[in-house]
Amino acid sequence: MTAAFYPTASELGGRVEDPRLLSGKGRFVDDLKFEGQAYMGIVRSPYAHARIRRISFSKVRSSSDFVAALTGEDLIKRRVTTNSQNQWPPQKPAKRYHLAVDKARFTGEPVAAILVRRKNSLEDLIEQVEVEYDPLPVVTTIEESKKGNTLIYEDWSDNISQSNNVKWGDAEKAIASAPYVITAKEGIARQESAPIEPRSTLVRYKKEEDAYEVYATVQSVHGLREQLASELQTPEEKFHVKVMDMGGGFGSKGSESYPEPLLACLFSRQTDLPVKWTATRTEEFLEAASGRDEYCNLALACDKDGKIVALKADVECDVGVTGTQNHMSELSLWTMLGPYRIPNVDLRLRVYATNKMPIGPVRGAGAPEGCYFIERAMNIMAQKIGIDPLELRRRNLTAEKQGKSSSKADYIRLIDDLIKHSRYGELLEWKKEVNSKFKQPGALHSNLVAGLGVSIRGGGGFGGDDHGGSSEGEETENDEWSSGGGTGTEVNLADLDFTSEYARVSLERNGRVTVYTGSSPHGQGEETTFAQLASEALGVPLDKIAVVWGDSVLVPYGVGTFGSRSAATGGSAVVDACRKLRVKLFVKASEITGIESNALDIRGGRLVDKSHPNLKLPSLMEILERLGLAEISEESTYRLGSMDYSTGVHLCALTLDVGLGKVRIEKYIVVEDCGRMINKTIVEGQLHGGVMHAVGGALFEKLAYDDQGNLLTSTFMDYSIPRAPDSPNIEVFHEVTPSTVSLNGAKGVGESGTNAGYAAVINALNDALSNVFPGAQVNVAPATPDAIFAALQSP
């Protein structure tokens, strides 16, 4: 009988990775050192848009610390291709070299690179590289980009990087005749991942093998391997890419192809020296792929019963010099459909290029945006109709399954749980009480209003499952979790996509098991959770299992950790490999013991005859010995085929000090469903962090530019991620609707908190504002005090 939940991290006494991380024995890339290593520095454009007339290293060459230099022209000479990552359809391919060629397109864009001997002299020498620029007109807003007077890419006819449409029915007609129509201008400013560890890389070129040993802070070693191979036009097997511990990624260390690992490879090869580079925080702000910067003009229409009849929206995204986000902006369209039945839909997305750093996936990568747009709209609609926001949602939940496993009944359950755990009635009373004491502005004393806000993260992904149909869905049955069905298949390596992952599980002669995974944990705890999965799937005790990742040789294939996939995809691959290993093992054991394969089991690491459990059979180690094997293993390249996202319902209760425009979150509750939880403590940790990321985005964070395209927020002083004193406690409750797609019943959960978080906070804020005067609204995040002040100016 399998437990409904695995032991939590608390019950285990901690995670496997904890002792070394707590003792300062983590191995982050910047911790690594090679004898004789040289240090790379990047010369960056101080202009947002400028032609590069001349680059001179003459001053810098006179220093005894100087080793070598590179420019964009050098890259072309060495047949390095342009950035491989902004070529994915449906975006317009954008030709940009890793060191700017001809012109710089954003402040901070790398223009040259130097290699120096001593770390202390690096910044001195960067300053001595002379670059002459001819500034060009700067495009810093979507409006300017639309005009097309200045082109970011001169081989494009305009600045539109991508267009997408999602359409069915006749939204315009439905809106025209609907009794309830609301419109809203919503948006989320440019924000970023801001992991506390800056990017870093250490490369050692090995002359004898003509190969590269590359350490880099990446969420996928295989992804980087592919990028380097493609851009350096060198076979993949020449790159041994590694990462051990990594200080967070949240997308920014994911798919974007950054110049530095490639440049380090070039330098190392050229000089035979190991090359180290670590970003300063300023460089992180200037260059690391940022996200959001998406705005929506929408209309939502309901019939007299409050049932949605149409959603029409114009969505615009500022994607900077383009990157890997375009793809995710499309996801925001699908996420805008929420878990609702919407018979008429007309969504239009245009993605514009500007003179800002590239946009890439930032925790949620399109889903927080889409979820925010619809969930904010739902609250505005609820207010218009005059019904409770949760009631409006109940009326509109689609009967179809969301993301393959969550049905209307599941959502109702989440909402009911939320009402129960939040003590919703008491919160309404609290709100009433606070608001009754509010005195109109002008009183100049501590003046609080309170608000409640809710939001739902629908379970759909691309393709937006089942929003338009009308047939009733089936109820999910929580049956045998341990033999979770799963609907995926084994695929060829070439077909490894983001719904798949690789794993190899090997049993060694010393009785230990090693799980090799293509996932790449950086805080999510897979070193523990995958061991837990393998322990259950194999029947071997947890302490005999080690997890290996982040090495493109030890783990020859993989996709990586991003997009809330690992538990589902990586986990499924682990389970699949374990099952296959058991089959293989039992066939061999059957030959040796004479017992039928299907009568065999492994329990507590011992081989067991299920019908005679007390019979002493040869140990697994003995079996291996008899077979003359050092180890026995099986691989899995498992593809789910579709992604199954977590769902959740969030509630935020806050007070607003009207005199100052300052928000204080008093309570934040999540009822989430990520399927079967491999480790409940870890799931909750992911929710805490995810929600806090959204709180920061809703209230504090903004990458701000002046009209010359200079980034005004390039330190942690100016770019305000939440700190402990500003952060609310987050309570997490759970429902479990096991995924029918993954083999372990789990759905990914890394981004869930962020996806629904923005709307919960902004809805609560607007609920509070409505007590000051009706119609006072802030619909663009972050809702900073001055934005709140502005909203309160116009009665």
Binding site: G13, L21, L22, S23, G24, D30, G685, M692, A724
Partner: protein
């Protein structure tokens, strides 16, 4: 003195203490997360005070007593603060963790029974992007309880 060991080195005046610890003494447990002294990942205890080692010149540590995260565990046994973090999932990626531990230790040595507000305030100089601080606060509360229980014994 760093973690009860004496070191003697020559450094350029502009060498930051954090770089000295990481590069010269190979104590890479303390981390660098920013350039301006706002992230707190570099927090150590110097002469009994939690300080950001990126905002101190190595030369200023002349004659100082320094404790870094590597000096917490003794004989393979985790320090009670580390234990509390481990039991309460007070870390995820672990990058901000050494600094967090130091700030927590400084707080608890001055104020063994802090309120939640006091804990959050004490950790205001340590940025974390993974945990949302929820379990970090729980860990410090657990450490505070462990300290009380230890004292009673």
């Amino acid at each position: 003195m760093v973690n009860d060991r004496e070191f003697s080195r020559e450094v350029e005046p502009r060498t930051l203490l954090i770089d000295f610890l990481r590069d010269d003494l190979n104590l890479t447990g303390t981390h660098i997360g920013c350039d301006t002294g706002h992230c707190g990942a570099c927090t150590i205890i110097m002469n009994g005070k939690a300080v950001k080692s990126c905002m101190v010149l190595a030369v200023q540590a002349q004659g100082a007593e320094i404790l870094t995260v590597e000096g917490l565990a003794k004989d393979q046994k985790l320090h009670w603060v580390q234990e509390a973090f481990m039991q309460n999932h007070g870390l995820q990626c672990g990058f901000c963790t050494p600094g967090m531990l130091m700030s927590a230790l400084f707080l608890l040595e001055r104020n063994p029974r802090p309120t939640e507000e006091e804990i959050r305030r004490a950790l205001g100089g340590n940025l974390c992007r993974c945990t949302g601080y929820v379990n970090v606060v729980k860990s410090v509360q657990a450490a505070s309880r462990a300290l009380s229980e230890g004292r009673e014994n």
